[in-house]
Symmetry: C2
Subunit: 221 residues, 2 copies
Amino acid sequence: RNAASIPPSPRLPLPELPPPQLGAHLGELLETGRDADVTFEVDGEMMRAHKLILTCRSPVFHALLSAPMREGNEGVVRLQDIKAEVFRAMLHFVYTANLPEEHSGDRLEVPMTQHLLAAADRFNLARLRTICERKLCESMEVETAATTLALAEQNRALDLKRVCLDFVANNLSEVMATDGFTHMSHSCPHLQAEVLRAVADLKNNAKQAEEEEEEDTAAPA
Amino acid sequence: RNAASIPPSPRLPLPELPPPQLGAHLGELLETGRDADVTFEVDGEMMRAHKLILTCRSPVFHALLSAPMREGNEGVVRLQDIKAEVFRAMLHFVYTANLPEEHSGDRLEVPMTQHLLAAADRFNLARLRTICERKLCESMEVETAATTLALAEQNRALDLKRVCLDFVANNLSEVMATDGFTHMSHSCPHLQAEVLRAVADLKNNAKQAEEEEEEDTAAPA
């Protein structure tokens, strides 16, 4: 190939790449209920869904929907201990990989996040769990820290629990004065021992840092 | 709320957010063929898939699979004029929103891209079409430009066609000397008129730019 045949690259801009539509397409499926083959009854509300999608997204749905349905319930699965709004938001997440707009980003409020964390734990949705844990970490405050700690413990949210313990240890007297702390001490008494351990670690770390600083001052290089 | 109760924000880093797994979960469904309800016969190869996914992703699959199947073919859909490897890569895209690793990014080769563009046009997959158009724009060269122009025309790839016409007009004598140009002139003779129009526009634009520059020089601010 001689020099003259070396091609100039195109001068016009490349066609713009649209975002993936996979979530949008599955979201339509949920919204229209087309070809739905299972109905959930939650809080008296009926919601139609697709076993194929649910079972490939959550091992808990897989176990729940693979078992033969009891006779006479016409494909209806009744769920206890979850609010309709929470289950609807969770279904949206299962189909689209995102929370519905009214509950996503800054619009995700703390009580909804707490319910969604419990739902994520119940149906084993790892990414939804992390979204909720991050939100609750960002929303951490003295008034609610102990309640959030108990919630993290009950829903196996290990990252959130770590952040809570650190926060409580760093704001111990303020947090101990809240109703949430009293409630936590009754509902999960063993968490008090974990708080004590976090406080002890904090003190040790502070002491160690102080000693290192003294050493640095005593013997400069 | 007094100053002492203003909460310090957590000091530990937020839990890391994993990437969405929707595509990965559906990809597993395709790979395992679990609960598949349609089989494609392509080039003698049988591939199992799920009507629910195909019909929500492509209006063409919707039309193809919603029509009652002819008796006796046991849910098998025979497809002509598409290679097994191309159809398999396209199915992967439909389920996961990505091309399979061996055909994605830099590994996507021009002949495969050409086949995938035709498949994207046939099954009306807008994003796959754009991925192919972008790849063919980036891979544009004198030897293949006319063939790519004909391909863009045959598969309604308007953005790619625009880039091809511009490229051919800018490299006219080199491109006219290729076998591809002869072939294009026979298979899509009307494209010659479009190339002529592109060349004329190019000349007009150049002339206009020259005149504007002269004006600027003649009458400085």
